[in-house]
């Protein structure tokens, strides 16, 4: 799981950076830094959630759909790994299957 964990973190970092534009402004994205202090809003959290689910091809459980899940790189990675770890199928990298 170490390899998987590493790659999850890398992707999570890219997705966060895409939302918050941190590195282009010279900010360092620490693994436990509070994203809400770095400009995360309810709307960027929304976009981040959707892009994480699309990218990893997962569905976060309802219990993870809360502010604290999107607190830090670590918290998000843990939430993603929890789903990936319990899933049989490997992540596809495609958007989640369309379903209402």
């Amino acid at each position: 799981m170490t390899t998987s964990h590493t790659s999850t973190v890398d992707i999570v970092r890219k997705l966060i950076d895409q939302q918050l534009n941190l590195t282009s402004h010279g900010f360092e994205l620490k693994h436990d830094g509070n994203l809400w202090d770095l400009g995360m809003t309810s709307l960027t959290a929304l976009g981040l959630m959707l892009s994480i689910e699309d990218t990893f091809g997962i569905e976060l459980p309802e219990s993870a759909l809360k502010e604290s899940t999107f607190r830090s790189v670590d918290a998000i990675t843990a939430a993603v790994d929890a789903v990936l770890g319990s899933a049989q199928a490997p992540p596809t990298g495609e958007g989640v299957s369309a379903q209402s």
């Binding site: 998987s4 890398d10 890219k14 709307l43 976009g47 959707l50 689910e53 992540p91 379903q99 209402s100």
Partner: protein
């Protein structure tokens, strides 16, 4: 409400109606009147969380008019359901009155006053104008009145009325009294009311054959009609996850029943125009010294029988401020919370579903009570295999109805937020103009569409909900992605899918 419910449950019926709100009971009454065989209505007698038991039951379609009501053909068709339903009520009341046990007329108010006050912002003004235009278009009576002449109306000076009109033919009924009278009439006619909930629908080979109650008891049915309000979607899903229903959300609303302790009572419905995200502030005389004050509207993730402290404050404060300052001393005798069935596109869901033998009747949002007698006629026709009496556009498996562009949706959202901003008394720094507040909401709304990645334009209430609920946003996005409203060419795709990383 359980006076007529029986303890011996039937094992079979020609029609089982799931849901004992206004839609379910009016349909049962129509079926009994037409002699369409045995009818069983299943629903808990307490009706907790249901919309009908909490309804103000204003019989007002014109009082509810907004700028959206007649702007598109689809909205007009929907609006005209209300207009047609209005004509049914005199006969309905005549036949129900003898079954009423309340000791007072079921029609609790014969008429309505709509007031335009200064606190409701521009949205009030444009909706007020839209209402007058609609009244003229449909040739309905109204007259301008002096707000001081409205019995009971006694707002604080800071929210005094700018204009007021009298709608002599739009009144209200005692919702709880009507439901009880319908139950009595149904009992008299031989329909069976079962005071329980349905756990699941029973099917065999894609044919719905009955319902299973909470305790496992089965009732076989020739036809099952689901009219269980916001519970309907999950019930239908017990047959199949694959039925492509329009998503539905609970529109949690709060109202108070209060006993007047002094001052002149209201003798008519007194209301504002429809307002930011909601149905406007209104008081509905109930008879017996009681007045109904309503209502809030908040789309939520799950059905609930409680409400937010903010909504309690909202309703109490604005009732005292905008309707009658003496309401401060009124005795609240009942807190009413109900969940309106709100669909993604705002239109009802009425029609047969793919599994044979299953009919859906819900999604009526604010005026299910008002429209129930009309919809009952339509559904009874459909169950009899006759042509329906309303437009077929409300089929539950339709594509979401398009009534606005994204740009229009954003403007609407801004306007609703501004209305809420001023009504709640929010203060901006003195140098901040209304235009700047509007810019904030506009920017936020544009960002919301960008993040959601959809190109179906949402109504302001749904948009507000989607922005505040990750669960809601995800559900709306997924549904629209699987239909035509999903924007597949999302600019922000990332080039490091997990496939690459591995």
């Amino acid at each position: 409400m359980t006076e007529y419910a029986i303890t011996e449950r039937p094992a079979q019926a020609d029609v089982v109606i799931v849901g004992n709100g206004a839609l379910g009971l009016f349909l049962a009454d129509e079926l009994m009147e037409r002699g369409m065989g045995s009818v069983v209505v299943v629903g808990p007698g307490h009706r907790e969380t249901g919309a009908s038991q909490a309804a103000g039951a204003m019989l007002g379609c014109f009082g509810e008019t907004t700028t959206e009501s007649l702007r598109t053909d689809a909205s007009r068709t929907r609006f005209e359901l209300g207009v047609a339903a209005h004509d049914r009520w005199p006969a309905v009341l005549t036949k129900l009155e003898e079954f009423s046990r309340t000791g007072r007329p079921l029609q609790s108010a014969p008429d309505t006053h709509v007031v335009l006050n200064s606190i409701g912002a521009e949205l009030d003004t444009v909706n007020f104008k839209a209402m007058l235009d609609a009244l003229d278009q449909y040739g309905k009576p109204w007259e301008e009145v002096d707000p001081h002449e409205i019995p009971g109306f006694n707002p604080r000076l800071d929210t005094r009325s700018l204009r007021a009109v009298h709608l002599p033919t739009e009144g209200a009924v005692d919702a709880r009294g009507v439901l009880a009278a319908l139950e009595a009439r149904l009992h008299d006619a031989g329909a069976v009311l079962v005071d329980q909930s349905v756990r699941r629908l029973v099917s065999s080979d894609d044919v719905v054959t009955g319902v299973e109650l909470d305790d496992g008891h089965l009732i076989e049915a020739g036809t099952v009609v689901v009219a269980a309000g916001v519970h309907s979607e999950s019930l239908v899903r017990t047959v199949s996850e694959d039925i492509d229903l329009i998503p539905m959300f609970p529109g949690l609303g709060f109202a108070m029943m209060a006993r007047r302790t002094g001052g002149d009572p209201f003798r008519s419905v007194v209301r504002t125009p429809n307002r930011g995200f909601a149905c406007g502030l209104h008081v509905v005389p109930q008879g017996g010294g009681l007045e109904y004050y309503g209502a809030t509207n908040r789309l939520v993730d799950s059905i609930s029988g409680v409400t937010w402290m903010a909504d309690v404050r909202f309703l109490a404060q604005y009732s005292m401020q905008q309707l009658d300052e003496r309401a401060a001393g009124h005795e609240v005798v009942q807190w009413l919370a109900g969940n309106r069935p709100v669909t993604l596109d705002g239109f009802p869901m009425i029609g047969w579903l793919p599994p044979s033998g299953l009919y859906l009747m819900t999604g009526t949002y604010r005026d299910g009570f008002h429209c129930a007698p009309l919809l009952a006629e339509h559904v009874a026709n459909e169950l009899q295999g006759k042509p329906g009496t309303i437009d077929p556009m409300f089929t539950p498996t339709r594509e979401p109805v398009v009534t606005r562009t994204i740009e229009w949706s954003i403007s609407e959202y801004v306007e609703h937020n501004l209305a809420a901003w001023f009504e709640t008394g929010a203060e901006a720094a003195p140098q901040m103009t209304t235009t700047q507040i509007a810019e904030y909401y506009r920017t936020r709304c544009v960002q919301a569409y960008d993040q959601l990645g959809i190109d179906y334009a949402l109504g302001p209430d749904i948009l507000w909900y989607a922005q505040g609920s990750l669960l809601g946003a995800r559900r709306i996005r997924r549904y629209l992605r699987s239909h035509r409203g999903g924007s597949e060419t999302r600019a922000r795709s990332v080039d490091t899918g997990s496939g690459d990383a591995q």
